[in-house]
């Protein structure tokens, strides 16, 4: 078990390192560098910068040094000063620009995962236990529809329906009066009121997927001899299913959660644009279009970190609930 933990932790750091390298690579992709962009910005406001000043600036920021030195400088700034660089679009440090959006993204992702779990697992269990029943067919049908319709389409349909039926435009995560306000009880309640539409939109595909996976796993587990043993003991049918096969069928559901985490964040880009959500997705698109590279790189870096850490947490969860993994290799 210790072995597994150590190995898993080492892998996590390797993955985190890879994420930083890729983010840095993306930041450096466009022609020119920070100074080019800076000069361009100054020129746009009317001031002129001569070549000397430019090279001084380059020296100051270390842009004349080899790329790996630049990388080390960049990463040490992030680690030591939590400084992700400067966003030209917003004229503010990247950390300030994305702080609240990142928080809202995380809240939305976690809420969506909870939504997926609450709906997918019981439905998956019903579908498996009552295989080939009316409910199984119904949920299978709905599940495939949920999988097949792109989520931005669901978003558009829901927006239309809400507008037509309730005369209510379900865009954003806040009512206008709260969008810029400081956090308060009223703002949290407002968020909860607005949040469930994006949750349903984002969670539909994941729910459909998890229903299929839970159903398939549970069908496998239900056929195993230990289920007969539990029944032969005299346990009630409900307890047999809940205590034994369901517990074991949950393992892949937990792995899936880690797998849908990046999907929730990247998938939320299009949905985010459609529903005009104040999450990092739409901001990433904007930053890439405007070549605001520190902002784009910062978002990619943080989203990558979240995914790697989310996977790590799901592995720890698996370790906790499944002794077979705990004893592997020990």
């Amino acid at each position: 078990m210790l072995n597994f933990l150590i190995r898993r932790t080492v892998f996590m750091f390797v993955a985190l390192f890879a994420v930083t390298v890729i983010s840095f690579f993306i930041i450096n992709l466009p022609k020119g560098d920070y100074v080019t962009a800076y000069i361009a910005q100054l020129q746009a406001t009317g001031s002129l910068v001569d070549a000397d000043e430019a090279s001084n600036l380059r020296k100051f920021y270390g842009l004349d040094r080899p790329l790996y030195i630049q990388y080390l400088k960049w990463i040490s700034q992030i680690v030591l000063e939590q400084n992700l660089g400067f966003s030209f679009e917003y004229n503010q440090p990247v950390t300030v620009v994305i702080a609240e959006r990142l928080l809202l993204t995380i809240i939305l992702a976690i809420a969506t995962i909870i939504f997926i779990w609450i709906f997918a697992i019981p439905i998956g269990i019903i579908s498996a236990v009552k295989q080939y029943s009316f409910w199984d067919y119904l949920f299978t049908f709905l599940g495939f529809i949920g999988l097949a319709i792109p989520d931005f389409m669901i978003a558009l349909i829901m927006m239309y329906l809400f507008f037509v039926w309730f005369d209510f435009s379900p865009g954003g995560l806040f009512s206008p009066e709260f969008s810029q306000a400081a956090w308060s009880y009223a703002r949290v309640m407002d968020l909860i009121e607005h949040m469930w539409i994006p949750i349903v939109v984002l969670g539909t595909a994941g729910t459909a997927q998890l229903i299929r996976i839970t159903r398939a796993n549970l069908l496998d587990e239900l056929a195993k001899p230990y289920v007969v043993t539990a029944r032969a003991k005299g346990l009630s049918e409900w307890k047999v299913i809940a205590k034994y096969p369901v517990r074991i069928a949950l393992n892949p559901a937990i792995s899936l959660t880690a797998y849908i985490l990046p999907f929730l964040i990247s998938g939320s880009v299009i949905v985010g644009v459609v529903l005009s959500l104040p999450t990092v997705g739409p901001m990433l698109v904007k930053a890439l279009v405007a070549q605001d590279m520190y902002l784009a790189g910062g978002i990619i870096l943080l989203v990558g970190f979240m995914t790697v850490i989310g996977t790590f947490i799901s592995d720890l969860l698996l370790l906790w609930i499944d002794p077979r993994i705990r004893f592997e290799g020990s």
Binding site: Y226, K233, G234, L235, R247, I248, P323, R324, F327
Partner: protein, 339 residues
């Protein structure tokens, strides 16, 4: 047999005309097709037959553990109490109802062929044994734990308190089967159904497990239904034996009657295929020709007729033979003995 003996031979479990069919998309499989069994108190009934003859399905049907697409459609499974009134037909009880669940694991326990997969891989052995104890007694958690430990000692498990905290995959095959036996017997059942309990074990462990079952039977006075394809196991453990072929019992009687004086050609063939020390050097064992027919293509008449050395044309493929009494307690279904 004297009258006194007859009284002693009052069965505790009586199966009559049991039929369990599987309704698959390819057609109906008559896995168990009219089986009669009698289990006597403190005695062991051996059910023997090739794989696929329906022996496991028969015992699963007794406890109503048949899953979709299988269904027990006919018959009686009478579990006798102290008086005639206490007798209950398990097939008339509600599937998974309270009454049936009290009998499962309470009056009738079951152990299985593969102790590895018969334990949950993510619950400790202790958790699963204690669950069985608490289902059928009013013991508290700590008392049940002590009781479970006590039972592990009784089945000869070393280091019992440690074992309770372990998972099935941490134990050896023999230990797992011992744990399984402890789990089945800790509720003090009247009948233990053992579904090929030694098939997955090596020969030494096999012998140990059989000895343990015998010892437990002497101490607890329960009846055993032993399912096996191993005639050696039957010879060692059983008092009575039923030979099954394709969902039907073709011959039954005491172990002495069936082994010393086998009447059905199938029983004769099975017994002659056991190597013995008397078999001469390099002498070939007789071979039972042919294979078991496909479940959907069972032969008409006596199901054994295509493989039978005593096949009577115009009779055997036409009708299933009536039951003939060879002597008191020794029954055979074969046209050779039908008058």
């Amino acid at each position: 047999m004297t009258t006194k003996n007859k009284l002693e031979k009052k069965s505790i479990l009586e199966v009559r005309g049991l039929k369990t069919y599987f309704y698959t998309t390819d057609g109906t499989v008559k896995a168990v097709d009219g089986v009669d069994l009698d289990v006597f108190p403190k005695k062991t009934l051996g059910i023997v037959g090739e794989s696929g003859c329906g022996k496991s399905i028969t015992t699963k049907s007794i406890l109503r553990l048949i899953d979709y697409p299988g269904r027990t459609i006919e018959g009686e499974v009478n579990l006798k109490g102290d008086t005639l009134k206490d007798s209950v037909d398990l097939l008339k009880l509600k599937q998974n109802g309270t009454e049936l669940r009290q009998i499962r694991g309470g009056r009738i326990s079951m152990i299985f062929q593969e102790p590895m997969t018969s334990f949950s891989p993510i619950h400790t052995i202790g958790n699963q044994i204690i669950e069985a104890i608490r289902l059928h007694s009013k013991l508290g958690k700590s008392e049940a734990l002590e009781f479970a430990e006590d039972w592990l000692i009784r089945v000869g498990m070393s280091n019992p308190s440690q074992r309770l905290k372990q998972y099935a995959f941490e134990l050896s095959g023999g230990q797992r089967q011992r744990a399984m036996i402890a789990m089945a017997l800790c509720t003090n059942p009247d009948i233990l159904i053992a579904d090929e309990p030694t098939t997955a074990l090596d020969v030494t462990t096999q012998a140990q497990v059989l000895d343990l079952l015998k010892e437990m039977q002497e101490k607890n006075g329960m009846s055993i239904i032993m399912i096996t394809h191993d005639l050696g196991v039957i010879a060692e453990l059983a008092d009575d034996v039923s030979v099954m072929y394709l969902g039907k019992v073709v011959e039954s009687g005491t172990i002495r009657q069936v082994f010393k004086n086998p009447k059905h050609p199938y029983t004769q063939a099975l017994l002659s295929s056991i190597p013995s020390l008397a078999t001469g050097h390099r002498e070939r064992l007789p071979i039972l020709t042919g294979t078991i027919p496909h479940p959907q293509a069972r032969p008409a008449g006596c199901p054994f007729n295509p493989r039978c050395k005593d096949f009577i044309e115009g009779t055997c493929e036409v009708s299933f033979p009536n039951q003939e009494i060879i002597e008191e307690g020794h029954l055979v279904n074969c046209h050779l003995y039908n008058k």
